[in-house]
Subunit: 342 residues, 4 copies
Amino acid sequence: MTVRAAVAGASGYAGGELLRLLLGHPEVEIGAVTGHSNAGQRLGTLQPHLGPLADRELAPTTPEVLAGHDVVFLALPHGQSAAVAEGLGPDVLVVDCGADFRLADAADWTAFYGSPHAGTWPYGLPELPGGRAALAGTKRIAVPGCYPTAVSLALFPAYAAGLAEPEAVIVAASGTSGAGKALKPHLLGSEVIGSMSPYGVGGGHRHTPEMIQNLSAAAGERVGVSFTPTLAPMSRGILATCSAKARPGVDAAAVRGAYVKALAGEPFVRLLPEGQWPATAAVQGCNAVQVQVALDAAAGRIIAISAIDNLTKGTAGGAVQSMNIALGLPEELGLSTIGVAP
Amino acid sequence: MTVRAAVAGASGYAGGELLRLLLGHPEVEIGAVTGHSNAGQRLGTLQPHLGPLADRELAPTTPEVLAGHDVVFLALPHGQSAAVAEGLGPDVLVVDCGADFRLADAADWTAFYGSPHAGTWPYGLPELPGGRAALAGTKRIAVPGCYPTAVSLALFPAYAAGLAEPEAVIVAASGTSGAGKALKPHLLGSEVIGSMSPYGVGGGHRHTPEMIQNLSAAAGERVGVSFTPTLAPMSRGILATCSAKARPGVDAAAVRGAYVKALAGEPFVRLLPEGQWPATAAVQGCNAVQVQVALDAAAGRIIAISAIDNLTKGTAGGAVQSMNIALGLPEELGLSTIGVAP
Amino acid sequence: MTVRAAVAGASGYAGGELLRLLLGHPEVEIGAVTGHSNAGQRLGTLQPHLGPLADRELAPTTPEVLAGHDVVFLALPHGQSAAVAEGLGPDVLVVDCGADFRLADAADWTAFYGSPHAGTWPYGLPELPGGRAALAGTKRIAVPGCYPTAVSLALFPAYAAGLAEPEAVIVAASGTSGAGKALKPHLLGSEVIGSMSPYGVGGGHRHTPEMIQNLSAAAGERVGVSFTPTLAPMSRGILATCSAKARPGVDAAAVRGAYVKALAGEPFVRLLPEGQWPATAAVQGCNAVQVQVALDAAAGRIIAISAIDNLTKGTAGGAVQSMNIALGLPEELGLSTIGVAP
Amino acid sequence: MTVRAAVAGASGYAGGELLRLLLGHPEVEIGAVTGHSNAGQRLGTLQPHLGPLADRELAPTTPEVLAGHDVVFLALPHGQSAAVAEGLGPDVLVVDCGADFRLADAADWTAFYGSPHAGTWPYGLPELPGGRAALAGTKRIAVPGCYPTAVSLALFPAYAAGLAEPEAVIVAASGTSGAGKALKPHLLGSEVIGSMSPYGVGGGHRHTPEMIQNLSAAAGERVGVSFTPTLAPMSRGILATCSAKARPGVDAAAVRGAYVKALAGEPFVRLLPEGQWPATAAVQGCNAVQVQVALDAAAGRIIAISAIDNLTKGTAGGAVQSMNIALGLPEELGLSTIGVAP
């Protein structure tokens, strides 16, 4: 099977990462690559790391350009995916890397995004309970946010096993590519290098309801989330430090056991040996997730930490993984668990 | 008044920062500078940023060398300060940047350091309730750890005002200089650059009991602490993200009010205007502390975040500030609140 | 003497650094601080590291606002200084951190900047032969470019002593703050971190004629310059690697001797001991210059390398140093040779 | 064909990169992985990014362990390869990533390494004139040094076409991984971050004679080299800025033409479109080389700049590329020209 794939929004970081991965996918042929303000420019200038595509010009993001593909990846600003998807027909697999179709609750959407809810698509995090079944054969995929990917994989085993109280506290550090290529003063190299700073503090980050949705589903009850994202002086990577109070009677063996069981057989998630902790460098450029967990007996909390590459497993790699499942291809095709380190 | 000061352990990062600050202190004259394995080497090689001291040679750390100073700063590996301090006599002001005399509870010390407790000295965090009174005129100062400095200043207002439940969750990111100059593989530039990773997870970090001690004192009851430190790809700076459940009935105005009141008039701590968040770059190289606080109403938590330079306010700057108080000098002498940014 | 100083262009990196240094200058009182598009905003937001000025609002850059100061520092885009300076009167010391008045040759100006030449002011690099005499008592100062500062201090001793052929090859690495706060895609943190790249290759960089001017003056003949600047993943610092063929018969002792002699007594320039090489971290945040030189006998070239902080000695520190001379103040007042490292 | 490959020295950065690439090579099966002081430890600890090999233990580097492989890669400290290679027999392809067999001139070896010359093996830089012919069918390969790879590919077209005078001036910036995993103070993250510094200045770097060898071969006459390496605050990448005087009458078209011709058809080297310059981020983690060249007419110099990943094309990727040629496999097998950026 050769799958013909288009990428809409190919000039940004998510689009570039999609192309990087699709270039290495043995069953994918890259079709249209489109942009908005950059239409007409060459990828050699916009994405100089994509040598084999250097001479490709960005086409405009129109239905005509996107027509005739088996898969269309959308890496667009939020709010734009629905209109583009509508023009593509029900037989095309549409993989949306934006936020538009992630949330099941329309009120959550409106509260955090301030616009009408476009709908809900099957959610592209196969490792969650029921995740693969929801994706098999689907023609529409909502790729999770980068932070929710890291956080959900760190905490769902504890909640699925009923080990943790339904209030999670999460502090995550992200590389700057998570903020995209938008020209904002606080994203300049001079501002970012040598500095750690938080943003969206106090519950305001748009990924919060997505975390609540995932953890609540795993727990079978509503899980509250306190989420603080921070910007770290690196280009890629998310380190998510997550914790919740342990339920009475939970001991370290129960915690370890739940994680071993929940993550067993996962091709991309590796529960590290006890005593070793995740590092974002170890998963850079690949689809791997490193997870570790500990019980802090004195504080009575389960501490679960995960590391991902925000652009790979956190965006484009997760998208390709879900595409593979939807198309009935081997889930690992075109994806690696080998990081580029040091 | 001219104060003659010695620095023991001048080849490390804390020692270098002490010298950097003391060189700019108008009432201090730098006397002996000592080292252990580096004795006999020139500071020009060991600390090439200290131009005015380039030709100074490190003397060995002996009582003879340290004798005859008004102040002796100790920047030694933990466990070594007591012996050196004993040789100095009761009239010399000894400022210990190590951990030896920070903890009041001998059992805590032994549990975390595995050796007999050396004792307890007045604690060098003037901003804490009663902090300045404890330091005035003292001849012995225990300089706080870098993480406890950042965390205590972020959270004590909430606890002193009775706004928060006595269980704090803290995730802090530190620059690599906090780990010192020891040659360890995980501290190599190649490992650190581009990576975030946690360490000492699950309650094991030695700064945990010190945080508990400070927050409990502010709260008037025992405060439990879940503390996760992470290593960030920068050389200096700590960003401490701290939270605790708000007590019933606490609203945003009460939180803001408590912080405004607790931090009013502090020369080095600045509560940022609402909506602005701390960044470590803004306090780089200076003794300033940036603090911000928010109430996450949905999660029911108070989120307090602070940024310091781990070597300045977190170590050497805090030491000089406390020395000023102990000697009756103006507290701000030789210290700056102007960061080196970008 | 208290000098009242204004800073025009206070929202950028040069303006911020000027304010940082002036805040620590014992004879300066900061008057007006102005901006263009940022007028009306608070420095606490624009320059969050300048704690003591947090509540200051930027005024617009008008003659009325800038009137009534002893010194006016201009940190404006090139081409704007002349008009502002004209409005200030001949008795005000105007220190221009821009390029407008650096070049003596109008044709050079037009070739590199494409606009009419505004004129030539005394050049603010006191360490060059005759440099201090040109600045004493002047009311107009052209602050050198950051690269020309680093390069001229590295190479003038060789040329002044007649040791080098008049063709210099220079490759310099600069931190990103040298490119200013302009929002350009290649200056985003995600692009800069982890990457080295050249720009302005092949003679096009506007600092080239300024280097030629300085080195030619030292040599007494025209010195050609091949200059390649590169952008390094750090916020501050310039490392300039400069070389030229040694004239026949020149040996290592002659080279060393010339540098020892030329740099003797300089308060800010330190010729490092043989075998030690400059590092930008060692001069971060201060006005120091580290210089080292070697003769590569096999290649027949003199290699001279300097490290400066591009914002301090390379811009604002150099400006303050020259101001001190012009006003008859001690040259080192308000300036430090102690770097903020690590 | 399935090739069974061993890697000796698998705990270092070169060894880790070899394993990373070999894991993705469709015709290679990884056999023994060995270490010295780390023998007995798991790769999961030593190279946490190599997920699929996490449970592999390092064996000792002995003839018995290395026996029975088709290819043995040596990533050992210099001086150790000859003894290991001798024990492997003439039918095993030995690919030495160390320096031992790179130089043709025994006197050069002894002058720079201070030990007896072990010999000369076919040189693993296929892009040089005659490079592929020398490698076809060979059983011994000397992998080039990282700097000579970058420099030779940047300059050989100019020398092969007779356009440049035989004196090259080279300044190169390298990421810290080029210095290996040795625990040296100047390689600590705290020292490296935020700093640029030179080393081995004045002709002393051991890669100098290798550059002279390659450029002289291309030129047909002895080419002198002035080489200054600098350490940059990034983990990977080399940017080599190389220049030489243009021969009389050489114009920009001739320079461009020579590079177009010399690099045409090269699978890994890309001459960028005019006006675009190399960046190390664009080749991170892949075997691609970006090259650009310009004639600085005013200075009379040809400026050629290349960017590589020092660990990939500069070491392990170059090794695999040469192995492919030696074994008669497609040269690009298992290698990518797609960088991991941003």
